[in-house]
Each structure stands twice: as structure tokens, then as C-alpha cells.
Amino acid sequence: MKVKMLSRNPDSYVRETKLDLQRVPRNYDPTLHPFEVPREYVRALNATKLERVFAKPFLASLDGHRDGVSCLAKHPKSLATVLSGACDGEVRIWNLTKRKCIHMIQAHEGFVRGICTRFCGTSFFTVGDDKTVKQWKMDGPSFGEEEEPLHTILGKTVYTGIDHHWKEAVFATCGQQVDIWDEQRSSPICSMTWGFDSISSVKFNPIETFLLGSCASDRNIVLYDMRQATPLKKVILDMRTNTICWNPMEAFIFTAANEDYNLYTFDMRALDTPVMVHMDHVSAVLDVDYSPTGKDFVSASFDKSIRIFPVDKSRSREVYHTKRMQHVICVKWTSDSKYIMCGSDEMNIRLWKANASEKLGVLTSREKAATDYNQRLKEKFQHHPHIKRISRHRHLPKSIYSQIQEQRVMKEARRRKELNRIKHSKPGSVQRVSEKKKRVVAVVK
């Protein structure tokens, strides 16, 4: 007879002293871990609930401006520095870690229409209603000096926007035409027009740095090539576009913030159909900015809220609002992709977390592992109705909520009408136009 009994030595399973860690032998045999899927589901449900519990995105409000904030700019080299221009011509430089204004300039008379930093971070440019372009030192005057711009350019017409080239000493302004300036000269290198109308914003492409995009109030978005000194092509939409923003990871993708409450992501190569129509806002979209990862963007709207959209989704994943925040005029996503800043009508700049439930600060490795695991679980079970409902739920102010309902009814009525029209006309004579194509009026080359 040969016999062996299972006989464990307790010493190898119990810690030796109280200072040791407890011993936890593992065995991954599935029969010892029954109900794997239901337990993971419950964990995912708990994680989703906790995510909503911890979703407290608002971090700080920077107050100090004496009029509505009209434009924001990021510092290219320092994460903590932010520049803002106000409707009374004042420019302030903020330190985000201290949450204080470190510098203040009375830059223009009337609005500061645009502000942009030089790629090296030593100076910045502003344009204002007083028909001037001014270049300022970032550091401010030394003791006893007067605050004066490095350069001032007097123009003939009002400038409404400015953007600096990402690599060279060149910047572009827009107003009645798009002007491209060398920093050293007081007259533009070239100015480009296509039709006669006021152009509201101009943006350099961060990857293909000689490309520009602009949007004008005659409802078109025009693309230019700096080398050719002529416009490339333009797309005319249903309504006016307020700003565009290029995707920092994909050179040919840009998103346009439109007056018709939607955002349109276009592929530059095929402008006749937008890649995606992002709809969730209930009023005109005023500003848009991409995350440095190029996967999400944030949009500011006249409906007193900002929303975060994934690039490939038509619905927003997040909406931020507070009771005191009025029409949001400008928004920026910080370069570390963790925070969002928005400047609004009621003179405040607000700082938000880009990921509402993220824990800030240094995480221990166990915390990090736990958040990673929970993230994966949430992804795995995201389509289960219960989890979906919880993760999608957002509280909205009553004005936005009721407007969403109203617009849903309107949209439904329009759709019904279209269906009826198709039904009662000769088959094939009335074509159904997709939501994407509907908004594009024409593409001109």
C-alpha cells in the first residue's frame, strides 16, 4: 500500500512575525474561482457607481478680469502659465499652481480679439479692436520700466484673430483678409482673400505647419497654403463656423465649431462629407480645442456649458456646467491633457479636470493597479444596460434639459415630414440625404 495524505506545513502559509506581510498563495484554477463573469459584472457596476460618485471635475476659478474673457492661450513651455485677454482690453498672465494672476497688462482699447504665444514662449502677440497687433514680453517689465509692447503694428482694418506659426517666426492674422506676417516686418508678407467677408479665426496646422485654416462669416471654411500665397479650397456649410481647431495628431483632420449647435470634424482631403457630426449642444458652439492626444476635444458653447467629445463619437462623453458660469467664450485643453480651462462672459476663468473622476496627485502602485483594473472592467461591461445608464447619467441645468427635449421634438417632426414626403412622392424622386451630407452646401476648389 502506498499512501500520501495532503499535509500542509502551516509555517509556509502563515507569516513568521507580525512585521511580515501576510502570505497569500494563489491558484488560478477556474474551479476555485466560480462565477467569474457575474462577479466581474458586479465589480464593474461598483466601479461605475464610484466613478459617478467621485466625478467632481471643477478645480478652481481664476477671477480678476473686469470684463468678459474673450480669448485664452497656453504657454508652449510652461504648463502652469496661462494667458487670457478680456473684453476691456486687459491681458492677464496666470499661474495655475498658485491660482493667481502674476501679471497684468492693459493691452488694447476695446476688446482683445486674439492672443497667441510664440513657439519659444518668450513673448506673445495680441490683436485688438483698436486695429493694432502688439507683441509683448512674457516676463513683464523689470523694475522701474514702463510696460510697453516690443512691437506694435498699426493696421488699416480691425483684426479679429491671430495665430502663430509652430516653428518659424511667422504669424497670421485675420480680419477682412488673412494676412501672413514676418515678425521682423511691419507689413504682411502676403494677404489672402476669397470673397469679401470678415474672417473670424485663423489657425495654423501643428503638423503640416504651412497649412492654415480660417472660417468666415459667409459660412465658409477656407484652407490656405502659406507657400502658395493663395487659398486651397473652401467648404460652405449651412451656417456660420465660429472657430476651427486642427487635430494635433492627425494632420488632415480638423473640427469646426458651428452656429447650428453642432461641431463638424472634417477630413481635409474630402471636404464634401464631414467625418463626424458632433451634436449635443443646445446653442451656438463658440470655441473648440483638441486634447494633445488627439482623441478628444472640448467645445464651449453659448448654452453655458462645455462638453467633451471623443473624436470618433457623435455624442459627448461629458458635460461641465456650474450655476454661475455664463456663456462660455473660449476654452483650452492644457498641454498635459489633464485639465481644461474655459473663459466665460462673467469674467472668470475656470479650471476643470479633463477626466471628471480622476484622482489627482501621486498614486501608489496599488491604487494605480486598481484604477487600471476598474477601467478595464468598465470597458468590458460598458454595453450592459444598467451600467450604461449609470455611466451616461449627467445632471443638467433645467434650461439645457428643457431645450434638449424641445429640440428632440423639433428634430423628430422634421424627420417625420421628410419621411412623409418620400412616402407620398414618386419613388426615387425624393432622395434621403444623410445627416452628414445635409449640412454641407458646397465645396469650392
Partner: protein, 611 residues
């Protein structure tokens, strides 16, 4: 032994290219050692030859070396060293790794950890979804290989009992085993002579550390049976029908004559649940925190012990219920009835999930093994049957016992114990997932009284038997899972660990409505509601948004965009689609014909009339 390829090997070209591109900074010693080592490697020539066969193209750097550190000669550019190459590698000392690459993993072990069914083909879908599915599948495979590899770290081996040639292990009595094994194991065999309070029911806690037993005449005790430390001993002055630990050893449910009572580990009565009356059998579902009770009145009641609510009270409509067991794989409760059927219940359904006709007479005992594949039943017709629970519910094997078994229990490694009268028989199978073969018993043991309760102790090679004369703890080598998981149920856990585990377990309490026959159903695609949703959407929109738009030829330049050529291109695409359709329908037809024709039959003249 077959081996599984490395998980990464599915998509090798990309990876290799990447690795090839990345140049590792060359250290001064590398250049010195490699060539000389190649010269001076002490391995036998045969081996080297084999290696050369494996990696024929490897260039040997024979240029010199010892002074290269000092002399500033321009270095000859060399091939970047490939990392993780499958061939044998030369180490610093020059010795070659005879077992290069990752260690091989046996296929059967990988199979055990595999969660996806490889036999199912991936559905025809969009390339995006398809590539995502493929990536998920590759990841799954990698995980199972990793898990299989971690088997190596398991510390304990299962026990066994083998006779000499021709010796029947069933003839080996307990005294012999006790004599042969070590003292620690021998101490696990004991008898408690408790003749006074009559036949006992018993229950081990989930960690296998604690034992609770209750006698018909009201004697209830719980003890740490390994150290033989008594936790509590009381007499409830009422008949005790069944006894069961709740999620931890601190709580004890006792089915008494009238009502269900819950005691703590000091014997203090915490609750008396009057809504559960005249209970005959108790069963605790640890992951759902449900206490299932079967009553004389024919009700199966689920009590949520974490909140103290009754989740469901189901009327089985089959008279008195006194045979109950749970399926540890899917938490389905199985009731045995006097008409010979076994019914499967979930708290989410008012009706049984399934009914299985098992015996001619009434069912006396039911047991389900830990993998949830086999169910053993015994009936009044003296039969002992083993059923397959995976879908078909067909009997796999059956045998007649002279007296018929009154109690059945499965061990963690698939041993089946049956109590017939005052004898306990144990049958063993081939392995963990195979059914026990009922021909030859593995062990038998005669007790001093009639068997009244049976349970294998988890994680110990011990079978606890409650009988008329008290409690017997039998040694059954090879019964239990040798390696426990410290985070699930740890017999050696400290108080702090238990508390932490309790909080975690309560946080991930599975809702009662998720109990169903297939516990993995939650991870499957819900095709029915998907189709329903699609239908509703189609109705709402008035058109199908997923249909492919008709082909529109792209305009071409330089006069190639004439109407004729546009039409020609359109027709080309249309014809291609038509051909595809025809090809598909042709592919389906021959199968039908093959089915109709019996294989190997000669053609008959009457075939022409076959439709």
C-alpha cells in the same frame, strides 16, 4: 506532449521588424566576450553543430578584442543583437542555453484556463470589429498560457492511495491508513462518540477549518476541528433538522423543528426567522449571500443574509422537500422529489429551470460536483446514477446498490461518497473533471451508526460523516484540492484577513437574479435584444441605416468618365455581387443533397421518385 506556440507568434513580422530596428547600445564587454566565447565554448561539438543548424546565418565576429577597449580603432558595424531570438543564446560566460525560448506549456493545462471556445468561428463582420475580436482572442490565449505557466508555482501535490499489485484499495481500512501516514494527518482521523443526542448533520465552513454539527435531539456545536478547539456547544432543546455555516465561521444557521435560527460562533442566538418554518434542508450560496431553505410545506425560500430579506419563496408543488443540493458552478438549487424527478431552481424564476426524471421511485439524495458537470442521484429504486449536467441531462453511468444510498457528496477533486446504511462507499474517477467510475469503490468504511450526513472537507483529505453514534472524520487521500487560493478561501487566514475578505465579498455580492444555468451568459452578446432594437430602429426611422448604399462610380479624369464607361463600371460591380450570391447559394446546396442520400447505399431505380 504537445506544446502551444508563443502567444506573440501569431503576429510575428511586425514585432520582429520593430526589434530589428531598435539598436541596443553596445556595451564594452559584449564585444569582448561574444567572439572569444564562441571559440572557447566548452560544449561538446555535437551540440554546437545542432545549434548551427538552428541558426545558420549568424555571423561570427572573429575580429579581435582584448584591446578594443583601449585602442580607438573604428568599430566595424555589426548586426544588432537580436533579442529574444528563438535559437540558443550565448550568455556572458559563453555557455549556451540548452532550453532557449519560453518554457513549453502542455496543451491540456492551457485548455483548462481557456475561456473562449476556439471551435466557434469568428462571425463575418466589419474589418474593424473583426480585428478587435482577433486581438481579444490573441490576448485571451496569452492570458491562458500565462496562467498555465503559473501552475509551476503551486506548492502542494494532491494525495493518493495505491494498493500493491492486485490489492483492492477498498479493502484498506482506516486504521491502516492512519498508521501509514504522518502524525499531522493521522490526527485528522477521529471519532466523536455522541450516542445521546442522536443522528448528526454536519457542515464544514468554506475554508475547511471549522466544523459545525447538530444532533436530532438538539445538540449543536461548532469547533475548529484542526486544532480541536471548541467554539460553542449548546442544546437548543428542539429537533435540529440541518445545520449550515453562513459566509464565514462566525455565523451558523440551524434549521430547528419550528423555525430557522441563526447563531453566532459563541452560541448566541442572533435571529429567529419565523418566515422560514419547518425547514428540512439548508443550503448556502456564498457568492450571492443567499440561504436557500427547503421546507416540509413544499416551499423553497431564498433568504438574503446580508440584508435579511427574503428574495424569493417558490412553491415547488411537489409535497415535502427533503432532498436539496446546490450546484457550486452556477448556484442553481437542485431539489429531489418523491416522484423521481430532480428539479433545478433559480430565485429569478417561479418555475423550475429544468426537471430531470432520474429514478423510478423517489429521489433520496442528490449531489453535484465542483465543476458543475456531473450530478449524482440515488433513489428508492436502489440505483445510483451519474448525470451529465451540460445541456443534455443524460445519465452517464448507473449502478444498483444493495441498500440504496441515502446520502451523497462530491469532493473537490471529483470523488463521490455515498452513505448506505452504516457504510460509506467512496468512488474515484480518472481526474478532476471526469465522472467517478462506479464499478470498484475506492474506499469503504463501516460506522457505528446509520449515516445521517456527509460532507468532504474543503482543502483537506477528510470526509466528515455524521451518524447515529456521533461524528466520524475519515481520511480519504486525494479528495481535496491541494492548493487553495489565498484571496478566495484561506484556511490559514488571520482575523484581519478574514475581515478584509468579508468586506470585499459583500461588495461584490452577486445579485440573486443573475442565477441561471450558464453563469457565463452575461458575457455573451445579447443577440435577441440586439435584433429587437434593430427592428425598432428600422420602424422608427423608416429605412435601414445599415444597408449598403448602391455603388456609385467615382468620376475619373481625362475623358474616362464618359457615360458608357460609368455604366460599364456599375455593371461590373453588379455582376460581381450577383456572382457572389450565386456562389454562396451553390455552396449551400450540395450539403442538402448529401444529407438526403444515405452514405454507401447503392443507387436504386426508385431514387428518381425521391423528392
Amino acid at each position: 506532449m504537445e506544446t502551444v506556440p508563443k502567444p506573440g507568434s501569431r503576429v510575428p513580422p511586425k514585432k520582429d521588424k520593430l526589434q530589428g530596428k531598435k539598436k541596443k547600445p553596445r556595451r564594452y564587454w559584449e564585444e569582448e566576450t561574444t567572439p572569444t566565447a564562441a571559440e572557447a565554448s566548452p560544449g561538446p561539438p555535437r551540440k554546437r553543430k545542432r545549434n548551427r543548424e538552428l541558426r545558420p546565418q549568424k555571423p561570427k565576429n572573429t575580429h579581435s578584442t582584448k584591446k578594443s577597449r583601449i585602442s580607438k580603432k573604428p568599430q566595424v558595424p555589426k548586426k544588432p543583437r537580436e533579442r529574444r531570438s528563438p535559437g540558443p543564446q550565448r550568455s556572458l560566460s559563453g555557455a549556451q542555453d540548452p532550453f532557449a525560448g519560453p518554457a513549453p506549456v502542455p496543451v491540456e493545462v492551457v485548455q483548462k484556463f481557456c475561456r473562449i471556445d476556439k471551435s466557434k468561428k469568428l462571425p463575418r463582420s466589419e474589418t474593424k470589429i473583426r480585428s478587435r475580436l482577433e486581438a481579444a482572442e490573441a490576448q485571451e490565449e496569452e492570458i491562458s498560457v500565462k496562467a498555465a505557466r503559473s501552475e509551476l508555482l503551486l506548492a502542494e501535490e494532491p494525495g493518493f492511495l495505491e494498493g500493491e499489485d492486485g490489492e483492492d484499495t477498498a479493502k484498506i481500512c482506516q486504521a491502516d491508513i492512519v498508521e501509514a501516514v504522518d502524525i499531522a494527518s493521522a490526527a485528522k482521523h477521529f471519532d466523536l462518540n455522541l450516542r445521546q443526542f442522536g443522528p448528526y448533520r454536519l457542515n464544514y465552513s468554506r475554508t475547511g477549518r471549522h466544523l459545525a454539527f447538530g444532533g436530532r435531539r438538539g445538540h449543536v456545536a461548532s469547533l475548529d476541528w484542526v486544532t480541536k478547539k471548541l467554539m460553542c456547544e449548546i442544546n437548543v432543546m428542539e429537533a435540529v433538522r440541518d445545520i449550515r455555516f453562513l459566509h464565514s465561521e462566525a455565523l451558523l444557521a440551524v434549521a430547528q423543528n419550528r423555525w430557522l435560527h441563526i447563531y453566532d460562533n459563541q452560541g448566541i442566538e442572533l435571529h429567529c426567522i419565523r418566515r422560514c418554518d419547518r425547514i428540512t434542508r439548508l443550503e448556502f450560496l456564498p457568492f450571492h449571500f443567499l440561504l436557500a431553505t427547503a421546507s416540509e410545506t413544499g416551499f423553497l425560500t431564498y433568504l438574503d443574509v446580508s440584508v435579511g430579506k427574503i428574495v424569493a419563496a417558490l412553491n415547488a408543488r411537489a409535497g415535502r422537500l427533503d432532498v436539496m443540493t446546490q450546484n457550486p458552478y452556477n448556484a442553481v438549487i437542485q431539489l429531489g422529489h418523491s416522484n423521481g424527478t430532480v428539479s433545478l431552481w433559480s430565485p429569478a424564476m417561479k418555475e423550475p429551470l429544468a426537471k430531470i426524471l432520474c429514478h423510478r421511485g423517489g429521489v433520496r439524495a442528490v449531489a453535484v460536483d465542483s465543476t458543475g458537470t456531473h450530478m449524482a442521484t440515488s433513489g428508492l429504486d436502489h440505483q445510483l446514477k451519474i448525470f451529465d449536467l451540460r445541456g443534455t441531462f443524460q445519465p452517464l453511468s448507473a449502478r444498483t446498490l444493495p441498500q440504496g444510498a441515502g446520502h451523497l457528496a462530491f469532493s473537490q477533486r471529483g470523488l463521490l461518497a455515498a452513505g448506505t446504511g452504516d457504510v460509506v462507499n467512496i468512488w474515484a474517477g480518472q481526474g478532476k473533471a471526469s465522472p467517478p467510475s462506479l464499478e470498484q469503490p475506492y474506499l469503504t468504511h463501516r460506522l457505528s451508526g446509520h449515516v445521517h450526513g456527509l460532507q468532504f472537507c474543503p482543502f483537506e483529505d477528510v470526509l466528515g460523516v455524521g451518524h447515529g453514534g456521533g461524528i466520524t472524520s475519515m481520511l480519504v487521500p486525494g479528495a481535496a484540492e491541494p492548493n487553495f487560493d489565498g484571496l478566495e478561501s484561506n484556511p490559514y487566514r488571520s482575523r484581519k484577513q478574514r475581515q478584509e475578505w468579508e468586506v470585499k465579498a459583500l461588495l461584490e455580492k452577486v445579485p440573486a437574479e443573475l442565477i441561471c444555468l450558464d453563469p457565463r451568459a452575461l458575457a455573451e452578446v445579447d443577440v435577441i435584444s440586439l435584433e429587437q432594437e434593430k427592428k425598432e430602429r428600422l420602424e422608427r426611422l423608416g429605412y435601414d441605416p445599415d444597408t449598403k448604399p448602391p455603388f456609385q462610380p467615382k468620376p475619373k479624369q481625362k475623358g474616362r468618365s464618359s457615360t458608357a464607361s460609368l455604366v460599364k463600371r456599375k455593371r461590373k460591380v453588379m455582376d460581381e455581387e450577383h456572382r457572389d450570391k450565386v456562389r454562396q447559394s451553390l455552396g449551400q446546396q450540395p450539403q442538402k443533397q448529401e444529407k438526403a442520400k444515405p452514405a454507401g447505399a447503392r443507387p436504386s431505380a426508385l431514387d428518381r421518385f425521391v423528392r
